[in-house]
Symmetry: C2
Subunit: 409 residues, 2 copies
């Protein structure tokens, strides 16, 4: 008799953004004329730069001609794209094209990466943070039961991000030694980037304790301060202990096109029980060739165009547009005396709720009273209670309008 | 101290097609002028039909304009495509759009589906068959050790496909009751389609024993005989016990574009340990929303065009082209007295090696003597030893040339 994977029943809530989606839809159904402005889900709104559009269309024309048609591509991505990434994103960082794996999204990669480690691995996850890290570990059975009293899973080592530590994780907080450490910088949802010296503490810790760092750098393009690393491989020794996830979603507006990549240096070696030295790079390659068939050729050609001179220019313009939104949101909130983190090296603003309301109560108030959608902080972890995440990915005028509605009331 | 998932070390070989690729590359390097014809990997060669090319390009233009830009789409696929699939591929079969999940490949889905079932599930897999079913279960730990003497994994229930049973699996062969049953029809690699009465035996068996059938119908479009079902849902009761996988790869030439879908009817209900009745449809939706972010919008628009009148016509032409190739291969081999299965309801021809050679020896002979690449049957399972798979996806002239080289010698 078949049984399901009952770890799914151990998940505590629907996926955060599905829940928000349902609440907004229900409100819309009852208030069809409401002018709702969504600063909730971290989805971009600027169109894809022209040079990328033309590259994808050109590649699609190739697909329509016998001489240039492309069938199955390499599971780990075309060399033309991996080479460009190595040369541009990892210039002087000693990352080779064969250490780069193209995928259809950092969400998939950060989710699927759980497959390559022992089920008994102890996992450290920040609170608050992007829910996929925790949920994918719940599904594969690496957590214990959810404890309703503490609001936390057994067996997970939580790294508390709070106003007191300025939402920056430090290994000194760890109560036991984790095997896997998820770090997200600039952090989703707090918008706080990790400083170079802090990241170095983590890399040194991982080297000493033979842990692996899973470093999510999906928002790297928004960094503007000098002391916030763009890649974990800026830290000496990280290429022996860290996997890095990057995405074109927020950088170049690829949320609807789907392309990202993961870096697994060949220097990450792990000893198996039989004494054999195993390269994580090889294991991920094996997983990819078994359970994945590569990213659409035409999308990879689009991603390649990001690295052209014109592509870089157009992409940068979009990022600056969003960054300006972030500054506006942050400034308007702070002028009103509302405390807001992030928004400098990140498209996310982490608003401290200025009233005695929970995250979901404030979410409901914003939705029903001001017709503005944010993301309840508690959806990212217990420490997110009392906060709300706002995103800078909206249209300029609508973003201003949304914040004005909040602060004028 | 981190450990890898050591189940990876239990995999017996590199992914079959990677190994072939390496062998061919090595031969090419030593014989740069060799005119190699590849009838090995099941990859299409006909260009994408024009109407699909135009649909994708139009969608890409939308992505370049603010008013029509699309960000994150629904994780389970756009309704416009799911609706078309329900109306066309499942006409009169009572499958609803909400039971259809769009993905980037049947390989991903048949691989990732392992996530939603209990790790203790007993798995039945045909031998020979597409390697992903077995390998994905090895990786997640559902098999025991590989036994070098038997050439098989402990804990897996093998369904022997042989010349004696005409490569058609039957539940009467089962030595114990499986929880999960992988069936592939028309089968990859044998090219044999399951007859309606045989498939009914399996559905009835699954209902009686509370098993789930994972039905891979990736080659359904090649079926021409009346008594071979195009969908498992043609069998009464299958909507309570079967998941079906379909792909646009071989149908519409999408191997390089990446689009497929999986059907999970809401009538599949499984009782959890706590007594709760769980719909598999909901569990897969939860997995998708946690670890996947949907297929590229522009690719889904391309897939939608397959269902237009012109799309159907153009796609059919390509399939007929490949089917004609299959007939030519099969006829030429049989004229020479070589036994060949498949090739009628399938693009695959399962050649019985006419000499006292193993699959890999015959592979090497074909590669080095005739410069023709096939796929060694043993790569699909122990029962595949002594066979070679040829595919009909090549260019007409080159296909004829390849078979002539084989039969004239």
């Amino acid at each position: 008799m078949i049984k399901i994977n009952e770890n799914f029943l151990n998940l505590q809530q629907n996926y955060l953004f599905s829940t928000i989606h349902k609440k907004v839809d229900a409100y819309k159904a009852q208030n069809p004329n409401a002018d709702i402005i969504n600063l909730g889900i971290g989805d971009v709104t600027r169109p894809i730069p022209k040079i990328i559009v033309e590259s994808v269309k050109k590649a699609m024309d190739e697909m329509g001609e016998k001489a240039t048609f492309k069938g199955y591509g390499p599971e780990c991505g075309y060399e033309f794209l991996r080479q460009k990434i190595a040369e541009n994103d990892y210039k002087n960082l000693n990352i080779d094209k064969d250490e780069i794996f193209i995928s259809d999204g950092a969400k998939c990669d950060t989710g699927n990466i759980v497959d390559i480690f022992s089920l008994s691995a102890k996992v450290a996850i920040a609170d608050p943070v992007y829910p996929v890290y925790l949920d994918s570990n719940v599904i594969c059975g690496r957590t214990g039961q959810y404890n309703n009293n503490t609001g936390r899973y057994e067996k997970i080592i939580y790294i508390n991000l709070t106003e007191e530590n300025k939402f920056e994780p430090s290994p000194s907080q760890l109560e036991e030694i984790p095997d896997l450490i998820y770090l997200c910088s600039p952090n989703n949802p707090t918008g706080v980037g990790m400083k170079k010296e802090t990241l170095k503490l983590w890399v040194d810790y991982a080297i000493t304790n033979k842990s692996i760092i899973l470093f999510d750098a999906a928002y790297e393009a928004f960094i503007e301060e000098d002391n916030i690393p763009h890649s974990i491989y800026e830290i000496d020794g990280a290429d022996k202990v860290a996997i890095e996830f990057k995405s074109y979603s927020k950088t170049a507006g690829f949320t609807g096109l789907r392309c990202a990549y993961t870096v697994i240096p060949k220097r990450i070696e792990i000893q198996a029980s039989n004494g054999e030295i195993i390269r994580l790079n090889e294991i991920w390659k094996r997983r990819s060739s078994t359970k994945f068939n590569g990213v659409s050729y035409i999308i990879q050609r689009g991603a390649e165009a990001i690295y052209s001179e014109e592509g870089k220019k157009q992409v940068k313009e979009n990022i600056l547009y969003y960054k300006q939104n972030a500054k506006i949101i942050k400034n308007k909130l702070e002028e009103k005396g509302i405390i807001a983190f992030g928004g400098i090296n990140s498209p996310y603003i982490w608003l401290k709720i200025p009233e005695n309301l929970t995250s979901w109560e404030y979410f409901d108030k914003l939705l029903t009273k001001y017709n503005v959608v944010g993301t309840p902080g508690v959806g990212f972890g217990r420490n997110g209670e009392g906060y709300l995440r706002l995103t800078a990915f909206g249209d300029r005028e609508k973003t201003i309008e949304a914040i004005d509605r909040i602060v004028k009331n």
